[in-house]
Symmetry: C2
Subunit: 248 residues, 2 copies
Amino acid sequence: MQDSHTSESTQSNIEEAIVSGILSARIRPGTRLSENQLASVFGVSRTRVREAMMRLETRGIVTVSPRRGWFVVEPSAEEAMTVYEARRAIESGLLRGMRALTDEGRTVLVSHLEEEKAAMAAGDRQRLTCLMGDFHIRIAELGGNPILVDILRDLTARTILISMLYQSEFHAVQSHEGHCRIFGAMAAGDFVKAAELSVEHLDEVETGLDLTTRPDPLSELRSSLSLPPRTVSSRPSGTRKTATSKEK
Amino acid sequence: MQDSHTSESTQSNIEEAIVSGILSARIRPGTRLSENQLASVFGVSRTRVREAMMRLETRGIVTVSPRRGWFVVEPSAEEAMTVYEARRAIESGLLRGMRALTDEGRTVLVSHLEEEKAAMAAGDRQRLTCLMGDFHIRIAELGGNPILVDILRDLTARTILISMLYQSEFHAVQSHEGHCRIFGAMAAGDFVKAAELSVEHLDEVETGLDLTTRPDPLSELRSSLSLPPRTVSSRPSGTRKTATSKEK
DNA sequence: TATGGCTATCTTGCATACAAGACGGGTAAG
DNA sequence: CTTACCCGTCTTGTATGCAAGATAGCCATA
């Protein structure tokens, strides 16, 4: 709501402005991000825009098509599954390792769930998308581990892009109930249960996607030509296979 | 062994060369990374070096001290605990979600454990450090989720930096046995057990650190001046608090 | 009409130039 | 001897310029 302030505060908000735009479902997957445009919007030179892009690229949020442009990632169906799998692993591990819920934490979650309910009542789908992702980030924040928070924030951003691509209808009620159940287990101090519920919940959301609709209509063509079906990684370039111990 | 090839293959190996150097314990925490030096070593201009640095910064591997230089991170004791906590969460979540061990996977792990044993016999501490980290990356690779692999690779790099800072004596035997136990559980198909063992193992390793020795000898001074005790995050700058839903 | 090639334009890739700040050594004053 | 200050040097920060490639539209041709 308050971005696009062109000249004021010439920090490197570019990166977070974009992530924030994605987290709030204002930026769609596949959106073109022109270096020149961003540079003029933010009142800086291309250099800083490129820095932000590179950072976002290593965070798995944008991709560059050489000499064609930067684009917000459009996760393939395979990538989508990978993201959900990663989230299941991390979030369940996070919850299992949690100690207890402080009063403050309880308050945060309760008020968050209230917000969800309010948004559902208002029928504000965009806000709802945003909140549904936020719930998980909130939990991560409660865990108190900033590394996991950052990781999950980026995965949540990707998740939102995924849902913008593959989510035909929004099972908001189901998600909200899932969140309530998770909170219930946490409030009861049963974090093992919370972890299990979290996995279930993510499974449900993933199942609710229509991963058969291909946003890449060339995929079957691509595969019939036996080209690599699009590399799936959280990292861009040939980062695959970092020299691990044995160097040939 | 095969880096520092100055002119040949002017790709963007810079990033992975550094990560690889850390993973193999050849680059120590706190190492200064001069843009000019790297530029001449890799035969490129500072621009590309800076790109690599920025990427490594978002990966939590290097830090920049404004107008002073880039440095390989020196995790504080607090950060060290955060890293281990994150690894416990992720690795246990990963293992719990694993299906089964393929024959190929079994082979990979067995031969890896053989290598560990050989390195122990040879007393090659550097190689051992490298292998100890690699074991966990191998497991992640077996999981087949490239996102988790990348995350764990970076966390492993940080772990190695941590052990270079805080590990007084190397409990290689203990670690190796931990790995063997984890493998045993995996081979038996008991991934829940493997996850539990993995948590235990990481706990042991963390306990084996001497997190009281402060590589930042100013910390008590810093704290007595009530300055923030050094920000702990996987992300550098004011990335904290990405606009989540409620914008003000 | 359909097709092949050419060019104009727009994109990023990369290097370079210059500015701004940090640091260290020297020097002079106390 | 200690302290304060100044300046040269080295570092990164940022903008800009140019090159290389990609794309789209146009035109000639079959």
